[in-house]
Amino acid sequence: MSALMDILASAGLWGAVLRIATPLIFGTLGALLCERSGVLNLGIEGIMTFGAMIGWLAVYNGADLWTGLLVAAVCGGLFGLLHAALTVTLGLSQHVSGLGVTLFASSFSYYVFRLLVPVAGTPPTVEAFEPIALPGLSDLPFVGPAFFTQTPPTYLAILIALVLGYVLFRTPLGLAIRMTGENPHAAEAQGINPMRVRYGAIIAGSALMGVAGAFLTLSAFNSFFPTMVQGRGWICIALVVFSSWRPSRALLGALLFAFFDGFQVRLQTVLDIVPYQVFLMMPYLLSIAALAVMARRARVPQALMQPYRRGER
């Protein structure tokens, strides 16, 4: 029991929570934005992989860290453009298109990586983001080292969650996006072009997914290796449902999720009779449980997964 309390009382756990949560926040917000406009983006897993690879590669080749993030965002946006062309313009199955994008983006990442970085014993590394102590706040006892000594992208993630919440619920653009996800015909009747809104949302959402991946290689770790995304994209898709398509709850959900994840990692050292795989399963099982609890209650955007064609009802 006291071991549990020790874990909970360690600033290390709480500091890890935000670090684990960051890619989930970026990814979940990206997926949420796509879905708010009515398009499920299962390309997320592959886009995160590509973002992780290309962000790292850019920095490895001499770009600074922020440029690395930007490159990942742009590439994410390009994959988003591909997904949009398939699902919006052609109106293909969002499930299958998304999986296709994931398979393509991840295999393409591995190909490019292997092509440019020859096989080595240990993967080459870059100088990753350093934690920044927020002046004043980081001096607070316990809370300071736990929450206010993070790398810059973590602060950025939280900022983007707030901004996205504001845009969706307080601006005309956000209303247009939500209307497009609920009833694209109504949006069109009010002079909004649903196709354009969807393109925009998918590209912007996918850019966030790219950043989510780049965080892994530029902040959480400092190198790239295949399969490093480890299903985080799928977890983000589950978190979107868990959040009822609200950015503030997405932030909360990602933090909650990261808390359990950070907790189980530390629990492993205490409960060493239990095989470590049991702990590693937890995030996935937790996501499934969250889906089962929330799926029925959530107010799904009514036009999610329905292709829009002008004049066709």
Binding site: L92, L103, Y110, Y111, L115, W234, I288, L291, A292, A295
Partner: protein
Amino acid sequence: MRLERREHRPLALVLVTPLVAVAVALAIAGVLIAIAGAPVIAAYGELLKGAFGSRLATTETLTRAIPLILTGMAAAVAFRAQVWNIGGEGQFYLGAIAAAAMGSEVLGDLPGFVQIPVLMLTGATAGAVLLLIPLWLRLRFFVDEVVTTLLLNFVAILFVSMLIDTVLKDPLGFGWPQSEAIADQAMLPDLVSRSRLHVGLIIAMVLALLVWFVQRRTVFGMQSRAAGLSPSGARFAGIPLGRTLIFVAMISGGFAGLAGAIEVMGVQGYVTTELSPGFGYSGIVVAMLANLNPIGVVFAAIFIATMFVGADGMSRAMSIPAYIADVTVSLSLLSMLVALFFTQYRIRK
């Protein structure tokens, strides 16, 4: 400019579509090969040589096609009834470990004619059970099975990793996490001597024919197609939706599990976490390239196997990353989607 639905799809168009899709994918991959600095034509020559250049290469390619036929069928059967089973990878591993455990821990020294059917059945059952969980979540809680099957892949592989690390660990495995091997008589006989090609190929092809027959001619085939095309229409016609989907899921998961079992029984004899280079995911591409037709699945699986086996040869000869196979396969899925679109619609001014 607008899109118009085609009223009739000529057979020739349906047959040509996957070929066009594959050609487009190969062309784009060719650009990537060129960027890597290799001569494209020669590289594809090496690829063909790697896949069919010798007796050994050919049998390797066909061996690789066996699990792909089965996972492809898993996806095709499910997709046709609009059950989005993306969990083939997890079901594959669970089927493999179930068969291995049954063989090494339970059946032990029983004769082969008992072991082989029991192991296959065990693997299929394990795969089926794993897919029934997400289906139950869908029917009971309205949870999209795409995400749950994807997540369960990770759970299943971790579960397998745990088993071969603990209770099923091979004491003779020099500490490597691998399961105990099944008995020699439980291994599937070779189809061609001095090769790894085993009778699993015949089993998979017979099953493909059987599925084709069931889908075309039986009441169950018609019911599951109706359930997939229009749940409300099927419900009105009195087709038991839940039961039909459960059957479909059992068949689909069963095929993926069987793929795992047969891979253990045909090739390796034991399970590691490297047993599958993504057979479950590639199965989705196989199914789409085949336009969900079971006979087409056989050909699509052989194509994908060609890409993977051939790319290894090409990679050795030309120093192009072998991942080019994965890229080509995923590109052929995307181009197949677009090609299918144009078989269903035509552009009118």
